[in-house]
């Protein structure tokens, strides 16, 4: 049984077919060809529009079908595991959230129509050649004239600057206005005088080579007042809030790519024989892959928690989003690097072994930790809020009603069976005022674990009855590790509170290292909360419920801080690692996504039944699913490890 919020993504997955089959629409072979030819994927994008995926970027209140970011990140993963370029090119549609957040009713209606009926795409034109991440320093101007503005200047490098109908342009409307001197415009290019704007040439890039990475320039380009989004002077605020939305979603790109690099490596490792052993049976390779899998599960907990938390703790996303955008892409980049060791030289080949998808995913994904705010930008955003986060933890301890509210929000953010409230972008705030539910709720979370561990002494009756079915050993280990998280957080808070606080861009190297540690502690709490709130959810299966993966996950995260006592209990850990490896192999064998959520991937189909584009025009709900447990394992895996084009 699938959780309902994952059904759409599974339908898309089945409709797209198995990417290892050359005949499927977005096969590894075909997308490699597009990449080699540096050819924009027009047909594939058109297919997605015909399938109706754009509707899931438009809130229901604006005549679309978007209801949940958890659903959203699931389908972005489905696209990203096939081809990051297509996924990113289509997902520039998420900039529409700027309009859903700040647009007038007429602008919302117009954009919704353009996306649904005209299949319009959009791009974000903030960056400039000379100004990088410094948005306030930008040179593009919008000078007020009768009935509108005159735009002047160039935006570069901009993904989909050329092949898009709507351009969100950030421009200076008041030379003396400082932070309130920038305004945001939703520019419909079809309505412009074609002689007043121009596109800059395609930029050649290391990855996503088929992307329309270009730029746009304006020369006294008239745009009517109706294209101003929100109030004049509010462009920077809208821009920064918009980034909170998109940064948290970017992690899903990395997750899709990491799924593919792991899968193609396993295609090799489960069959390749060296020294009379298969690669996967060699201890180093086995542990390398099981560790990488654990890191992927940690990222799953962080990103699914964030996707849901968006609906619940919207005003905290200046923190959650920064953690998610730093932690997940950077962790998964490392996962890919480590996984590549097992695949050996094939990881570097452009036309061998699953059409060279490993090197392509590696190249394509390298941009994710850079765009929409680089790792440095996100860590910097955390550093500036870090002192308030520390102070707020002290303050909230004296306010039991607020602590209870934190626990309620955490339950809603992490219980996958619970529906999430409607996302309200107007609740976004530039700073979280020291709030981060995961960290403020840490003592409460530990109390819940203690209640599971010591049922006879607990006052939490509702949890006491559950304890009988729990593995007390795991609970005891999670409890021990969670106390280490608390100690580390307390120590860091103390250090932050007592040290001199630096504003601005003169932050020390050590401050960045502390911010990375904060992300790891936040991630550790996300894992604990995901388990705590779903350990009885049958859909997630025995592996998830047993919680051994959680012990290993916490162990890996805390190893950055100190050697934990559990490290010395070799036998126990060895069995945990082996069980993690077994789960990894099961998911691979059954063509399931490498995730805490059971997610059936498309299995190979006989060529005759492939019907690329046959779903065009149908709504996803009309389509039949073929997500039966794999009966084609023989086909799916028999051809590995050598060049594998089924």
């Amino acid at each position: 049984m699938t959780l309902t919020q994952y059904q759409l993504a599974e339908q898309l997955e089945q409709a797209l077919g198995n990417p290892q089959q050359a005949e499927s629409l977005m096969s590894f072979q075909h997308t490699a060809e597009l990449d080699e030819a540096e050819q924009f994927p027009h047909e594939e994008i058109a297919w997605l529009y015909n399938w109706g995926l754009q509707n899931y970027y438009i809130p229901t209140a604006c005549s679309g079908k978007f209801t949940s970011f958890e659903e959203f990140v699931a389908f972005v993963r489905v696209l990203s595991r096939r081809d990051l370029n297509i996924s990113i090119a289509f997902t520039t549609l998420f900039w529409s959230f700027l309009t859903w957040m700040a647009g007038s009713d007429a602008q919302k209606e117009r954009l919704s129509h353009l996306m649904r009926e005209e299949h319009t795409a959009m791009c974000l034109a903030y960056s400039e050649r000379e100004h990088g991440s410094d948005l306030v320093g930008g040179s593009v101007t919008a000078t007020k004239v009768d009935g509108g503005y005159l735009l002047n200047g160039e935006k570069w490098p901009i993904n989909r600057a050329t092949i898009s109908g709507v351009t969100y342009v950030l421009a200076r409307t008041d030379p003396e206005g400082g932070n309130r001197g920038l305004s945001l415009f939703m520019v419909e290019k079809d309505l412009l005088d074609a002689g007043q704007y121009y596109n800059l040439p395609k930029i050649k890039t290391h990855g996503i080579r088929a992307a329309d990475m270009s730029g746009i320039g304006f020369s006294d380009c008239f745009i009517p007042d109706s294209m101003l989004l929100g109030k004049e002077g509010h462009g920077l605020e809208l821009g920064l809030k918009g980034f909170q939305i998109t940064r948290a979603l970017c992690a899903a790109f990395s997750q899709g790519a990491a799924d593919t690099t792991m899968r193609t490596t396993l295609n090799f490792a489960v069959h390749r024989k060296l020294y009379n052993k298969t690669v996967i049976d060699m201890p180093h390779a086995r542990r390398t892959l099981s560790n990488a899998f654990i890191d992927m599960l940690i990222c799953d907990c962080v990103n699914i928690g964030a996707a849901r938390g968006f609906h619940v703790a919207t005003d905290q996303f200046s923190v959650w989003s920064a953690v998610d955008k730093y932690f997940v892409p950077v962790t998964l980049e490392q996962v890919m690097k480590e996984t590549s060791v097992v695949l050996g030289s094939r990881f570097y080949m452009r036309d061998e072994h699953d059409s060279g998808v490993f090197q392509k995913a590696l190249r394509d994904s390298a941009i994710i930790s850079m765009f929409d705010g680089s790792s440095v930008v996100n860590l910097h955003a955390l550093i500036l809020q870090r002192r308030q986060l520390a102070k707020a933890r002290v303050r909230i301890r004296k306010k039991p009603e607020k602590l209870a509210a934190v626990q309620n929000r955490l339950a809603q953010s992490f219980s996958l069976a619970q529906p999430v409230p409607t996302f309200e972008p107007t609740k976004l705030e530039l700073i979280s005022r020291g709030a981060d539910d995961l960290m403020q709720g840490i003592e409460g979370t530990i109390a819940k674990l203690e209640a599971l561990h010591e049922p006879s002494e607990s006052s939490l009756d509702s949890l006491r009855s559950d304890a009988s079915t729990s593995d007390q050993t795991v609970i005891s280990q999670v409890l021990e590790l969670s106390r280490i998280i608390l100690e580390e957080l307390d120590a860091q808070d103390e250090q932050i509170t007592q040290s001199a606080f630096e504003h601005g861009h003169d932050q020390s190297f050590e401050s960045f290292e502390l911010a990375k540690h904060y992300c790891r502690l936040h991630a550790a709490m996300a894992c604990i909360l995901m388990w705590l709130h779903n350990r009885e959810l049958a859909e997630l299966g025995d592996f998830f419920m047993k919680g051994e993966w959680l012990v290993v996950s916490l162990h890996r995260l805390l190893a950055h801080f100190r050697m934990t006592p559990l490290l010395s209990t070799g036998n126990l850990q060895a069995s945990y690692h082996e069980n993690v490896a077994q789960e990894l192999l099961r998911l691979h064998k059954e063509d399931k996504m490498f995730s805490i959520v059971p997610f059936q991937l498309a299995t190979p189909q006989p060529v005759a039944s492939q019907s690329n584009g046959s779903h065009a025009g149908q709504s996803p709900s009309d389509q039949s699913q073929s997500n039966q447990p794999s009966t084609q394992e023989a086909i799916s895996h028999a051809t590995a490890p050598e060049p594998q084009l089924i």
Binding site: E176, N179, R180, E237, H380, Q385, G504
Partner: protein
């Protein structure tokens, strides 16, 4: 140190106290001599960037134990304007 709606503290006194707190903070943040800071000048002139300005509002909130608009120093971009706004709109009184 600070109270809200303290009738004993006159508005102008509160404005001056907020001003001097801001001067001190900004001098510290930007490594400037406090005597060189003119409360009438836009803060951007001293190199206070957009995110610094938002962070400083957080510090103000801590000091005053009061929730303020995070863009306060964008909308009232000089020390004089921001201090006057806080006293006027939020009845902030500092003694």
């Amino acid at each position: 140190m600070q109270q809200l709606q303290n009738p004993s503290s006159s508005e102008s006194e509160s404005v001056l106290k907020i001003q001097s707190w801001l001067v001190e903070q900004i001098a510290d943040v930007l490594s400037l001599d406090p005597t060189t800071i003119d409360v009438k000048q836009p803060l951007t002139r001293y190199g206070l960037d957009s995110i610094d300005a938002v962070t400083l509002v957080g510090d103000l909130e801590d000091w005053l134990d009061l929730e303020l608009p995070s863009t306060l120093l964008w909308d009232y971009p000089s020390i004089e304007k921001a201090s006057a706004y806080m006293v006027e709109e939020f009845d902030v009184a500092v003694d």
